[in-house]
């Protein structure tokens, strides 16, 4: 270089990069910037840490020192005092009763349990038919089952005694997965369509041909409608489908006695039953309970309310004043009154509105009212999605010459529903949480069961452990769903920008 000789020193090589001074990098820097950036912030940090510490100090010993094996609350307290502890949770109640909290008084499959895990006493008692058969002694059977359940572990009973609800929930996950995750093969959606019938069969049991013929009848009505629609237009097709449905399921205007040919459904089911009797033991819904009940009501509510909600939202946007007026009234009336009042309507008033002498299942009544309730909320969510679509989309559909249903089905709804999925998931979370309210109309939801457990002599006076368990169950499900909704929001955001 030019003045190499005139300057005393010129550095020829680059200085190796030095690490930043301590306090300007890594954890220290992060802490300084985030936790101690100002006096107020430092104070806040210290206060919060003190807050966390004091909460943990109050709760953790109680939680971690908990007694897991005991037969009653008194026994729990004796163990606690023997260990010299000041406070200890009595988790033993969960350990003993978690099956009840999950399934309520849903019967276990005792035949399967005894033949798999209790074979020797079963043989001693005279075999499967002697114990469980038609002419068996009820008292002896109850004694045998109680002895077996005391002998088997709760986990065994969970997996094999409750295989029906367990399988139904597992299949539910499979059925829901292709709806939630678009990357899964579309062919799985066929299973999702078939699931309601499978689920009903597994939960309620009875003849396999019941749900099967219902499915067949629906498919046949739809197919007939399509065929007729090919020749006589949409209106003719719709009428044909409705007619087929009525012939299959309803007794039209009561002109034919129940012994007559119509409705076809009982006859087809009767024939199939006599040709090939297939089925599971029927379980009436007053034996349903526990967390399973929340899942059944929640899922049925959302599945049934989605189509009704979409129709209501479309009706609310309709150009026909009468239709709009009906939909607005329905939505506002349903949303304006608390669910607990609607459940009350289901349990006390519904019997007045139906023909004299007709009565149906308490669970079904609750599901109907919960469905109507949820559909009003879904309608509002979908309306938001419909309103968020640019007007050009509607106009583009019109200019292509599509009729109303085609433009909705092909252009508007796919986009509007995509926008409203997070809202729908949030509605579902709300609905799922609200299923706890069925305790007020006498169904045995988990919170009702905590009362039942507390009413027994052994566990009288136990609160926190049961509430925490139930709260955690709900939290796990709802938290997963809210995360899913956030994931979806993120995913939808990227392709909209």
């Amino acid at each position: 270089m030019t003045n190499q000789s005139s300057v005393a020193f010129v550095r020829r090589d680059i200085i190796p990069p030095a690490p930043p001074p301590p306090g300007q990098a890594g954890v220290l820097k992060w802490m300084r910037e985030n936790l101690f950036s100002s006096v107020t912030n430092t104070l806040l940090t210290i206060l919060s840490i003190y807050f966390i510490w004091s909460i943990l100090a109050a709760i953790m010993p109680w939680t971690l020192n908990g007694v897991w094996v005991a037969g009653s609350l008194t026994e729990c307290r004796e163990i606690r005092d023997a260990r010299g502890l000041e406070s200890a949770a009595c988790w033993a109640v969960i350990n003993e009763r978690w099956l009840q909290l999950l399934f309520g008084f849903y019967p276990t499959d005792d035949r399967l349990l005894s033949s798999l895990f209790y074979a020797e006493p079963l043989a001693a008692a005279g075999g499967l038919e002697a114990v469980f058969g038609a002419g068996s002694n009820a008292t002896a059977r109850i004694e045998f089952v109680n002895a077996m359940k005391a002998d088997l572990s709760n986990l065994t009973i969970f997996f094999f005694g409750y295989w029906r609800p367990l399988l139904a929930v597992a299949l539910l996950v499979v059925a829901v997965a292709p709806i939630l995750y678009a990357s899964l093969p579309r062919r799985l959606l066929l299973f999702s369509l078939a699931y309601p019938f499978i689920g009903v069969f597994l939960f309620w049991g009875g003849s396999f041909w019941g749900p099967m013929t219902v499915a067949l009848g629906l498919v046949a009505a739809l197919y007939l409608g399509r065929v007729v629609a090919g020749g006589y237009g949409l209106l003719g097709g719709g009428l044909a489908a409705v007619l087929a449905f009525i012939l299959f399921f309803l007794n039209p205007l009561g002109v034919v006695g129940h012994t007559g040919l119509f409705p076809l459904f009982p006859h087809v089911k009767g024939v199939l039953d006599s040709v090939m009797p297939l089925g599971l033991p029927a379980i009436p819904s007053d034996q349903f309970g526990g967390f399973m009940l929340a899942i059944i009501i929640g899922t049925a509510g959302i599945v049934l309310s989605l189509p009704i909600g979409i129709l209501l939202a479309l009706g609310r946007q309709s150009t026909m004043p009468f239709i709009r007026w009906v939909c607005v009234t329905f939505i506002e009336v349903i949303r304006g009154v608390p669910l607990i009042v609607w459940l009350f309507v289901a349990s006390t008033l519904l019997k007045y509105f139906l023909p004299p002498g007709s009565s149906f299942d308490a669970l079904l009544r609750v599901i109907i009212l919960v469905t109507l309730f949820a559909s009003a909320y879904i309608a509002e969510v979908v309306r938001g999605g419909l309103a968020a679509l640019p007007k050009g989309q509607y106009e583009a559909a019109d200019s292509l010459g599509l009729d109303y249903w085609k433009s909705m089905q092909l252009i508007v709804l796919p986009q509007a529903l995509k926008i409203s999925i997070p809202g729908i998931v949030n509605t579902f979370i709300g609905l799922f949480k609200d299923t706890t309210l069925v305790v007020f109309v006498g169904l045995r939801d988990p919170l009702g069961l905590t009362n039942a457990i507390r009413a027994t002599g052994e566990w009288n006076g136990i609160y926190w452990e049961l509430y925490i368990f139930v709260a955690l169950l709900f939290f796990t499900f709802c938290f997963f769903m809210s995360r899913y909704s956030m994931y979806l929001e993120r995913k939808l955001q990227t392709d909209r920008r």
Binding site: P321, V333, Y352, K433, F440, W464, V470, A471, S482
Partner: protein, 404 residues
């Protein structure tokens, strides 16, 4: 331009009702109306038949008969000799009381949690995230039962407040939290307390006038008044002066231990406290999220633009950020208030006598008037929600972005 010859006008044919878009919507509406009428008629007919079979009639006369039950929480006087209508009114007031208290507390906690959740401080925002998620993802009913269990199982009995009993009153011996309820001091309105209250109301009005005057003055001259300090002074000074000038007419009656329970003061039942706290905590989690998203919705450019104009930070918050954030925050906030009011019907779980428990509970059980009772109950909730949502619509149209 080429001349267009209109096709000869055809007469109306019946098939046009189905295939002509002009008439089809009319057909559809008429058919829908007929079907609705038919199904309503069917329902009403069923109801009439069922009522006749049970030997009942449809009448609201039961409202004027003697209720015959007591209500443990009452704002207006009520005895078991009063009518069912008055019982319903007591219940309505109880519902409104817990809803009003709940809305206030939920807003306070919710705004705090929402703002703190945005904090850069990892620990603080972590706590708030945990709080919000825990509250939002667990059914309200569980929270009500948990808070109620805390109030009844984990608080001392009144006798523990005796000497050496291990429990003591808080806030300078004025408030006692026991498993029989929370006992708070009761204000006694002595001679001349009306003057103090009148002075206080007047100073509130003065604050309102002052704020309008200050705003007008700023718009006209650009000069700012120290509004906050002046209002603070107006709030406290005149009322306190009046209080001392009139010779301290308002005194407090402190709760004291007598026998097995507290006497004196106001007993706030645990059911009310549990319901109030649980409703507020639960709703505040939703409000926190609303506040957070409202603040995030105001783009950073707005703050920077205000700073570029030379507006001070607190004025920026007041004049630029808050008005825009509130536009996003207030509509969902009001629907949360509505939810809270409707959720207060869960009072049933803790035995708080709200309208669901008086009119929709005991009255129905005693008179057997399910249809009438539930109709009235539903109408009450419907009116509340319609009033609140029409207020919201008014607000919405007043803050709507004025475009074109």
């Amino acid at each position: 331009m080429a001349e267009v010859t209109l096709p000869p006008r055809e007469g109306f044919r019946l098939s046009q009702l189905l295939y002509d878009a002009r008439y089809r919507s009319l057909t559809i509406q008429v058919v829908a109306a007929m079907m609705l009428m038919l199904s309503l008629a069917w329902l009403v007919d069923n109801t009439v038949q069922n009522l006749a079979a049970l030997g009942k009639d449809f009448s609201f006369a039961f409202l004027w008969s003697t209720a015959g039950y007591d209500i443990n929480q009452q704002i207006i006087p009520f005895t078991s000799q009063d009518t069912h209508a008055r019982a319903a009114l007591v219940g309505i007031l109880n519902t409104l009381l817990v809803a009003f208290m709940g809305c206030i507390l939920a807003t306070v906690i919710g705004v705090l949690a929402g703002v703190l959740r945005l904090s850069k401080n990892f620990v603080v925002s972590g706590i708030m995230t945990f709080y919000v998620e825990a509250m939002r993802n667990t059914p309200l009913l569980i929270w009500i039962l948990i808070v109620f269990a805390v109030m009844t199982e984990a608080t001392p009995q009144p006798r523990d407040f005796r000497e050496g009993g291990g429990a003591s009153m808080i806030l300078w011996d004025s408030v006692a939290i026991s498993n029989r309820g929370v006992f708070v001091p009761k204000p006694l309105w002595g001679e001349g307390s009306g003057v103090v209250i009148a002075v206080f109301l007047l100073s509130l009005a003065a604050i309102f006038v002052l704020r309008r005057f200050a705003r007008k003055r700023q718009e006209q001259t650009g000069q700012q008044l120290p509004v906050f300090r002046l209002s603070l002074a107006l709030f406290f000074v005149p009322a306190l002066l009046a209080f001392f000038v009139m010779g301290r007419p308002i005194t407090l009656e402190l709760p004291e231990l007598g026998g097995f329970n507290f006497v004196g003061g106001i007993q706030v039942r645990n059911s009310l406290i549990a319901l109030w706290l649980a409703l507020s905590l639960y709703t505040s989690a939703f409000i926190a999220e609303i506040v957070r998203s409202g603040i995030l919705a105001v783009s950073r450019g707005q703050t920077e633009a205000a700073f570029a104009l030379g507006i001070q930070p607190n004025r920026t918050m007041q004049l630029v950020i808050l008005p825009q954030a509130l536009r996003v925050i207030i509509p969902p906030l009001i629907s949360q208030f509505l939810n809270l009011t409707k959720n207060s019907s869960l009072a049933l779980a803790v035995g708080y006598m709200d309208v669901r428990s008086t009119l929709g509970g005991i009255t129905i059980n005693q008179t057997g008037r399910e249809i009438e009772g539930i109709l009235l109950l539903g109408t009450f909730y419907l009116i509340v929600s319609l009033v609140i949502s029409s207020l919201m619509n008014l607000y919405n149209s007043s803050v709507k972005l004025k475009e074109r």
